[in-house]
Amino acid sequence: MTAALRFDPIRLPPVCEELRKEVRAFLAEEIAVGTFDPHKPQREDSDAPEFSRRVGARGWLGMTWPKQYGGHERTFLERYVVTEEMRVANAPTRRFFVADRQSGPVLLKYAPEHIKMDILPRICRGELCFAIGMSEPNSGSDLFAAKTKATKTDGGYLINGAKIWTTSAHMADYMIAIFRTSPPTKENRRHGLTQFLVDMKSPGIKVNPIGQITGQHEFNEVVFTDAFVPDDHLLGEIDGAWKQATSELAYERSGPERFLETYYVLTELVRALGPEPDTRGAEGIGRLVAQLHTMRRMSVSVAGMLQAGKEPVVEASIVKDIGTIWEQQLPHRVRELSAFVDGEASNHATLDELTAFATKLAPKLTIQGGTTEVLRGIIARGLGLR
């Protein structure tokens, strides 16, 4: 077989189920005191900084990291449970999620010791928000085309150019970004990009908000004008960021956040159809639940492989491809099935409102974090086709 696909039927161990209960109890308390409304995924959350700190205080940030950096040395499967419970509850995780999932692990691997000791414990306490600087105007998924330059100067680098589609840059304390330190070579288009840790409070950084069709504001354009980054903020190898950036992708691409972003419309559909739906409504729910269950089993399976120290790059890309297409189609399927909802259903208005919101949100799901086309290229390479 060219590429034997593996999806072992991993079950979450009992420690995860205990943890799940704790997370649910915590979220129920937060909902009770009004920190967030689980039926309002579209809300901008002003309480989020305090919520982040409380999540950190519970030990649910940096869960898999070494204790010396404030981490908790728990498993990926435990982290998995926390992530999915937060996502399903529509908890305001935006402020800490990127740091916890991606930025922290990058720092752990590539940052100098004193930076790790300074920053990682603060991430674990829920005090820091991170952004990721990858795409640029006119580059998008084509990261080779990134032009924003880091030019060597005394004691560091001067950054000039712009990043775009940068989630949370408007509230971020730090950004981990790739900048061009050399031109690509003829032999290697991937050469010449370097990863840096950027303090967003540095002079010369301007964040311009980008409005979205959902009415929300997550994305930004970030413009750098002679912004200074000190030498010790360089992460990993000069000109070698491409490999660094791609080796982390299995973590970014297979998690529960890749199929649960519009999950709330399914719950509301089940509620609206009631305990005894007609045949068409029942069939619709059954199919969607079967698809959701299957994706989750695939995602848990990849988490299990990551925990076992494997590198399931193809499997993780498949989970993101199928997962994001599913969560993208979900509001459309729910809309079709809402034809069979009784006009008197008590949550009719909520269902309509959430379906409309999820429909507006849906287009971005197969774009962010690696487009469908890029993912299929990675899968094709894994199959030995290129």
Binding site: M1, T2, A3, L5, R6, F7, D8, P9, R11, R20, E84, E85, V88, Y263, L266, T267, E268, V270, R271, L273, G274, P275, E276, P277, T279, G281, A282, E283, G284, I285, G286, R287, V289, A290, Q291, L292, H293, T294, M295, R296, R297, M298, S301, V314, E315, I318, D321, I322, E373, L375, R376, G377, I379, A380, G382, L383, G384, L385, R386
Partner: protein
């Protein structure tokens, strides 16, 4: 499938490779491969994998048996192995020892119902019974008023109208017209027709997933050989993306089927968790078969449409297996009703309990 140094699966794979090579079978119009294959399978004890040793079986675990079925799907096996295994399993539920020889099982369709009368004879009709014309015995699940019984019947005692299923294997109508079983016994508490269908659905899911694995393998292989427009078609992005989608569907089928098999292998009753896993597996594997078979044929172009090519041995079986033991619509309605009855706020806890 799970990493296995499993001797049972290795034995099965060796027999399939030696005696059920798809190319040889496809070119053998006389069917002379059938007898040696079945003889080897019988001698290996594989058909009675799920029959305990005290019921004259091989006593393999449910997990091992499911892995064998996945391998049988990869081989596109055209012999009543799954059917005999399921029949042996059904008989064992009621502590009935399995006889020697090929068996099949009835009913296979959720709407079919067979009854055991007070005179001890079976009445009813079962459609789409796989390999009934090749079987010596049929394991029957029947109802006697409110009681569920399992019966062992000689195939020769039934009226069997021959039919051919989508995959080219026998799919017959079996009529029980006052048939006296060789033996029957009451099924254990909680065991009913739905339990039989759930078990059958998981068996077929593993076979479908296996067939998809092979469809992916031979499609990737073909794309890397076939030259069109002066390059290997594997180099065209549209073909690459189609094969990436096929890999996705194969993965989904494998994940759903192996998860359901793992659940059944560890279950103590046919509860909601088994319903979720087995129904989801059959639904998702059927969807994967539909999408996956279409892509595999698209990649092969016209050559894959010919009777000479082995592609259809896998694509048509995967599509045909969708209909046995409840198709995706049947299970979607059943699963949807279960989810609805439990209520919206219980959906996530149910899914996340797995």
């Amino acid at each position: 499938m799970t990493e296995t140094d499993n001797i049972v699966v290795e034995t099965a794979e060796k027999i399939f490779a030696d005696l059920a090579d798809a190319q040889s079978i496809n070119s053998d119009k006389q069917g002379s491969w059938k007898a040696p294959l079945w003889q080897a399978l019988s001698e290996s004890g594989l058909p009675l994998s799920w029959v305990p040793e005290d019921c004259d079986g091989s006593g393999a675990s449910l997990a091992e048996g499911f892995a064998v079925l996945n391998a049988a799907g990869r081989a596109g096996l055209a012999a009543p192995l799954a059917e005999t295994m399921l029949a042996g399993w059904l008989l064992a539920q009621a502590k009935i020892a399995s006889p020697e020889g090929a068996m099949t099982i009835a009913p296979v369709h959720p709407k079919d119902r067979i009854t055991l009368g007070v005179d001890g004879t079976l009445t009813g009709r079962a459609r789409g019974v796989p390999f009934a014309q090749d079987a010596q015995f049929i394991a029957v699940l029947a109802h006697s008023k409110e009681i569920v019984v399992v019966a062992l019947v000689e195939a020769a005692a039934c009226r069997i109208e021959h039919g051919i299923g989508l995959g080219g294997d026998p799919s017959d109508t079996v009529t029980f017209d006052g048939v006296t079983p060789l033996t029957f016994a009451v099924a254990p508490q909680g065991f009913d027709q739905t339990a039989l269908l759930l078990m059958g659905a998981v068996a077929r899911s593993l076979q479908i997933a296996g067939a998809l694995e092979t469809l992916l393998e031979i499609s990737v292989g073909y794309a890397n050989e076939r030259v069109a427009f002066e390059k290997k078609i594997a180099k065209f992005q549209a073909v690459q993306h189609n094969l990436a989608k096929l890999a996705g569907e194969t993965s989904a089928a494998l994940a759903a089927a192996t998860s359901a098999a793992d659940t059944l292998a560890n279950a103590t009753s046919f509860d909601d968790a088994v319903m979720l896993e087995a129904a989801a597996a059959k639904i998702r594997c059927a969807e994967a078969a539909e999408r996956g078979a279409a892509i595999a044929h698209q990649v092969h172009g016209a050559i894959g449409f010919t009777a000479e090519h082995i592609l259809h041995r896998y694509s048509l079986r995967a599509l045909g297996w969708r209909d046995d033991f409840g198709n995706e619509s049947h299970w979607a309605v059943a699963l949807g009703r279960m989810v609805a009855a439990r209520g919206a706020d219980d959906l996530w806890p149910l899914v996340a309990s797995r």
